[in-house]
Symmetry: C2
Subunit: 594 residues, 2 copies
């Protein structure tokens, strides 16, 4: 069962992800290192002790749906109430409305731990937090006053409602209607699908954030507005009023995250649900983008979370399971399978990939914090571009890693991995959605290439590659034989990233189809170069003993070295695919693909 | 729903897999090209029309177990009976005992189709066929007379029983006991786990092939004997007698192949099950190895099968689902997602990988046929080594491809892929076991490196690499611009394969831990070089119009080119990992892996 790796999390946050550097800049006020330790320690305990034991129960029980109501699995309501009461939901929310105002980076580390304990549990609050961000950023004072305190306390949960049957990746195709009621409110009619935690009784009210279109709105994404649609209307005194005209019509039978109810929502059985406009009409997509970016990073953290849980479970099994023997043993002896080199390779792949993905997510979160908290506007703008650049990588790479690690986790279990009782299969089933929701990983790669690379005329990505080069130079300068070929291989990976980037930049406007053809391998290439450098950065910090937080250096060096020589080594093939592979896709007759 | 790709199967069988060349050598007697077409056509129809509709029913219904009995899903018994009545079970079995004596290569193509239609259905007969092989190869005349006709007709199914709780990959650790009864029969006591189709009522009797150990046997794999243990004893007149002392104790709750009952079997509640020795005492492992190799190739075909089914399903969805638009469209238009280049990349990856894995499996099957049927003993021996070399690649690569293709299949479905109703999720769940059973893919890679590379002092693998070079030379000689960089990239892949092979060969005896460290990436490298060359061979045959069977060349060239420039391009990174990665695994402190 999952044990929160609090020390490792804190180390990566402080070193690879630059949290201590950001703190030294003063962006976190008087927040002390001890404060962070205390928060992570408590979160880790709650995740391991309270949430983790519910995970398999949730998988088995699911969320039975009957007559519009959902029954959550045994123990879930109590656990959620305790979690909210401990203040976890509002960790990074504005203090003005009852939040704790702590860094997003610390919240992301906590989100990872909730999701390692149970992805089906952890995904609900991610959406509530995204809703809080949207309301805090763009809601009227009245909306904030009514909704934020209870959403931040966790007394009410929230949802994000974008998807419709014809509008998935193409959000602009949505048809849910909003009409002005004449009193400043709106009436919402239509249908939404795949709504996570769309209905449940964990909380007395559910605050839906719904994208809809006014009848006189322009087509596409420029004609979408964002509304607050509470499940129960809220009286002036804050008490709950009438049930709003929105209901869950059905739930999906999913492969994983069984305890997360995924609902089809129907609006307007009786004329339309009452909705309250957030911000201005027709600007909903831009508000939602902010929410989505936060949610994307959180789903990246969910990917790290599942990978971490899978790694722990597989390692525990590999220590316990005896089978075969090493070359040094005689025929009557048997060794734990963790001693077999092929099992070591699998476990090390899981561990190195998980740690790399974690570092990328935390780095993105620190950039987000800088983008909001740095005193210098230019520093905020630069950090915003950095966060924008890294968000698709954090989301897509971490969730790919979740599936890869969960798959290796099954493999290490052998036949037992395919049996549901070990829990390895659940992680594999749960992981698979993370590559899809909050924008498929294909959409992430397109976002990276088409929207993020061109930022500041390419200066943002070039600047980042320059920083990676700095890390490579640090390793080479350290001249520590324990690193083996780490510096050499990472240097090659960064070279390949630069080569592919420079090939792509002029294609984005000039030959977009060629750029798009390379988007997925490019995102992977970017992730390998970045992930390898992140591991090396942590390892260097540990080696120098000036790491913020002290952990033994040897495991971190081993992870960096393994990643560089066994995983980042794929960089040249990926770069070649980006540069040279597009023509081969162009040449494909579509009719052959069936 | 699955439609058997009979033309494509026949083309690859004849060209890439060299079936026509083998037929021209005369190893198949007077078997005509038309005969093969007719068999494949009929098998394809049966698979698509009768088996495929049962697949989702089987997934939902499972195999409920009560009081030692299993209920198969609705329609399954009838379908199995019809399948057996049509003679499919004995397609490649000896004519002497009622089989049709057709080539293993044709049977493998049929096995692929049964398993594309339903992996849970297809896996049962694979084990019956393996049992037939063992009995036909090593059983006494009496055992053959009693069991073979009904096993070949499919009237009785068979099982393979190796695994015990403490004996998985390490078969030599098994403890099930056999005692001589004094009348030439034996009494078997013990427990077996993970027994596929260990109990069911598809057939009136089930013939278990069981590995057990005599009390005076040597330890390890040299002390294992193989027994026939029928569920019901068979009277002298062939009628069924008393129930034998073996029963299913429970079934597993698995992630996939729900309609394949996986049983824990208990022997000897009442003193011991009656067992009949196959061959000689203590030689069971060597007989079982023959069965396992056949079964491994068949599981490779099952991998191809699931990949094919996933590709078809994803392509159909991608043609139907409209979302977004291509660069050439205006904002009100929407295109089928198959037009999006990232979706094309995913589909083409699925298609090219599936076709490559198919060619590898069929090539292995033709080598098996040659090893049995060639007139020249030297040719038989060489073919046997070729089949031995390729079997672990056929098994491991094809089943890795199954999971990769099924995963991409989910991704192409987006959110719908995670919902069970589309069937994409079932393929993903079903696929995952193929990488584990019949020897995990880690075991396959170890088998390839430690047992197969050293054959004939390395001459076998070197000879094969030489053949791949010949294919590369053919592409280069064709000088057809449609192939793009295919020849160049495949040439590099073969160079890398050779480099890694030559590095490994002296390590196998000299530094086995180093060889083992590179086994998994080496198997992948071998597969990419081989798969790419196989696709190129098919494409060349189609281009020259001298292909046996005519299909349009363009799709085959596109697949070969895509594979070479987007997939086989990973060869250099893999070779580097083999040659350079072992040290980084050595350097891992085991305690960090948790």
């Amino acid at each position: 069962m999952y044990r929160s790796p609090v020390e490792s999390i804190a180390f990566t946050l402080r070193n690879a992800a630059d949290f201590e550097a950001a703190r030294a800049e003063g962006i976190y006020g008087d927040l002390g290192a001890d404060d962070i330790d205390a928060v992570l320690e408590e979160a880790g305990k709650f995740a391991s002790d309270v949430i983790a034991p519910l995970n398999m129960i949730g998988d088995k029980f699911g969320t039975p749906f009957k007559d519009g109501r959902i029954t959550m699995p045994p123990g879930w309501k109590e656990a959620y109430a305790a979690w909210a009461a401990a203040g976890w939901n509002g960790l990074a929310s504005p203090e003005q409305w009852g939040g704790q105002g702590l860094p997003q980076a610390v919240n992301i580390a906590c989100i990872e731990m909730w999701n390692s304990a149970s992805a089906a549990f952890g995904v609900g609050p991610v959406l509530t937090m995204a809703g809080i961000d949207a309301l805090a950023g763009h809601g009227s004072d009245e909306l904030k006053r009514i909704y934020l305190p209870k959403m931040i306390s966790g007394e009410w949960m929230g949802t994000m409602q974008l998807t419709e049957p014809q509008a998935g990746s193409d959000v602009g195709a949505l048809r849910t209607k909003a009409e002005r009621a004449g009193d400043g409110t709106y009436r919402i009619t239509g249908q939404k699908i795949f709504i996570t935690y769309g209905e449940h009784e964990l909380t007395d009210n559910i605050i839906h954030l719904v994208l809809a279109r006014l009848s006189d709105a322009p087509p596409g994404t420029r004609g979408i507005s964002l509304f607050v649609v509470p499940k129960f209307l809220v009286n002036a005194d804050g008490s709950l009023g009438a049930r709003n005209d929105v209901r869950a019509h059905s739930i999906e039978h999913k492969m994983g995250i069984h305890a997360s109810p995924t609902c089809t929502m129907v609006y307007g059985d009786n004329g339309g649900a009452v909705g309250y406009l957030v911000g201005e009409e027709n600007r909903g997509m831009s508000y939602m983008f902010v929410m989505m970016n936060r949610a994307r990073l959180a789903i990246g953290a969910q990917g790290v979370a599942i990978a971490e849980a899978a790694t722990q479970r597989a390692a525990a099994y590999a220590r316990e399971r005896k089978q075969g023997r090493t070359a040094a043993m005689n025929a009557t002896q048997s060794s734990a399978i963790i001693e077999h080199v092929d099992v070591k390779r699998m476990l090390m792949t899981m561990r190195a990939m998980t740690n790399a993905a974690r570092a990328i997510c935390y780095t993105t979160a620190v950039a987000l914090d800088r983008s909001e908290r740095s005193k210098d506007p230019a520093a905020r703008a630069a950090a915003n571009e950095r966060a924008s650049l890294l968000t698709p990588i954090a989301k897509a790479f971490s969730t790919d890693v979740a599936t890869e690690a969960a798959s290796l986790g099954i493999q290490i279990h052998g036949g037992m991995g395919f049996i549901e009782e070990t829990g390895a299969a659940q992680l594999y089933r749960d992981a698979r959605i993370t590559q899809i929701y909050e924008g498929t990983n294909g959409i992430q790669s397109i976002d990276l290439v088409m929207r993020k690379l061109p930022m500041s005329g390419g200066a943002t990505v070039r600047g980042y590659i320059g920083e990676l080069r700095g890390i490579v130079a640090d390793i080479n300068a350290a001249n520590d034989p324990a690193f083996g070929a780490t510096g050499k291989r990472l240097g090659e990976a960064v070279d390949q990233l630069e080569r592919a980037t420079e090939w792509l930049l002029p294609k984005i406007a000039g030959a977009p189809e060629q750029a798009l053809a390379g988007a997925t391998p490019y995102l992977r290439l970017f992730s390998l170069a970045t992930g390898g450098c992140m591991l090396a950065k942590d390892a260097l910090a540990a080696t120098r003993g000036n790491g913020n937080g002290t952990l033994p250096a040897a495991p971190m060096i081993a992870a960096a070295r393994f990643f560089a020589t066994n995983i980042a080594i794929g960089a040249s093939g990926l770069a070649e695919t980006v540069v040279d592979g597009a023509d081969s896709i162009d040449a494909i007759p579509t009719e052959m693909l069936g």
